[in-house]
Symmetry: C2
Subunit: 314 residues, 2 copies
Amino acid sequence: MTSGVGGAKLVHGLATAGDASQLWVFVNTGDDFEHLGLRICPDLDTTVYTLAGLADSERGWGRAGESWEFLSALEALGGPGWFRLGDRDLALNVLRTHELANGVALSDFSSSICRRLGIDAQVLPVTDSPVRTEILTRDGWLPFQDYFVRRRCEPEVREIRYNGSDCAHPLPELLEKLQSTETAAVILAPSNPWLSIGPILAVPGIASALRSCPAPVIAVTPIIQGDSVKGPTAKIMRELALDVSAGTIAGYYGDLIDGFILDVRDAHLEEAIDVPVCIADTLMITMEDRKRLALESVAFAGRLGKQAAAGTSE
Amino acid sequence: MTSGVGGAKLVHGLATAGDASQLWVFVNTGDDFEHLGLRICPDLDTTVYTLAGLADSERGWGRAGESWEFLSALEALGGPGWFRLGDRDLALNVLRTHELANGVALSDFSSSICRRLGIDAQVLPVTDSPVRTEILTRDGWLPFQDYFVRRRCEPEVREIRYNGSDCAHPLPELLEKLQSTETAAVILAPSNPWLSIGPILAVPGIASALRSCPAPVIAVTPIIQGDSVKGPTAKIMRELALDVSAGTIAGYYGDLIDGFILDVRDAHLEEAIDVPVCIADTLMITMEDRKRLALESVAFAGRLGKQAAAGTSE
């Protein structure tokens, strides 16, 4: 289960290092929103673009070689320019909005785009129901993209909620994979737990499915040496009065996970973590890094799986 | 009242040669359609882009210096490429679709875009009601853009209808201008009467307002020497078993007009036309041509107005 750039990198490693057709990627939809009447799904698109080799890896979002003619024309017409929609990226957004308006489910649209772009992995939203992350600041509740993009994560975060999650339904494929004995491992990507994994866990049924999942569930730390690799995770943790450490991340997941991947730079924190730990270099700079971390994650899950099987047979 | 490229050129001449703030341009909406969930208004946009100096005059539609990144990305995703939406043009379409979905009237949106682009003339749709031109071919009734763009006007036209016109309401500003004694002239642009002016006249109340209009109503021929200057007018006239001549155009308008502008190359047809005729060079190649024809049209209407005033006082 994934969200954002760190997640997309690990997913890319998993798809490249192993058999991509066996990889099911369930993506956060809490960052989704309506902009100019278009349905924007930043995490789904980052994942899809990354797997299709279309992502702009420098910028961390959108497509490589993107142009901005639409945006500059829009601003000249008095339209809003704060959310930067590239000309090529717009194609996916316009097509999705149109299909969804015609009654196509987001998950079906995502599958069709993956096929079209030659992606062997299954990239799906965690839910077809609308779940919207909102941030309480001193200016009141802000929609996620308002906080994240328009205000560049500047307001202090007081609270986070996942609007709509109460009545959301997990994608049947997700529950099926979590219940299946065929599933080798469930990996929670190195994403911000509160902003990115939280909206997934808030969908009724997902947390309990993780707890009863026969496959080992592991999480990869998004925090290295007391700071976030990317994005506002550390800032938000401070604002929520949390200790900015990998240990806090492991604690957040609690009994949902069977193992935790700690960065090699934080090896000394192993004792503070209640689940089995794998120490790895979690920084993904190169494509090789992505593959290496993917293989280490799968191997770690494999060891946990065998222990569990041994435990069961005792 | 105008539609398409020829109309936009004459409107441009009128706006440039005279006081643009006194110019009210009412534009055909029969070519409008929904594409990819976007509201496309080709005639309004051609008029607006032309007046704003943004039009691609070579191609005859869309914006100058346009790029096509959106379209190529859309086709790569399996989306439809037959209707060519440029990256910059898309800005106007996305913004309009969004505003209309929020309950803004097309006419109000058009006004705001004109202000934004520094256009002094008022460019408005003939109606805010949906009117959709449809073409009967041997494949059945086709939406206008399907016939015009996707099939490049190839199917034989058997009949033309203006779907929705029965229940359409003319824009109040249009009726007001047609009824006003302040209006100096009403000009029907050199557009295809069946495809482009027909959907205007089909809106209940407009034809009768033209008949009782105190200002002189004149039409400019779109046919020169038995052929259309641009577009499929001549082809359609042949398919409808009509004589392809300026006389047929004047006959189509019948008692709606008080005068007709005939091209100098067709001067010999003057006798066949039942209303006062002005002979002019109606071919608009250069900007000077646009201004010249605009000034001649206004002068002709002025002469007709004086005659009518003289007739009344007799």
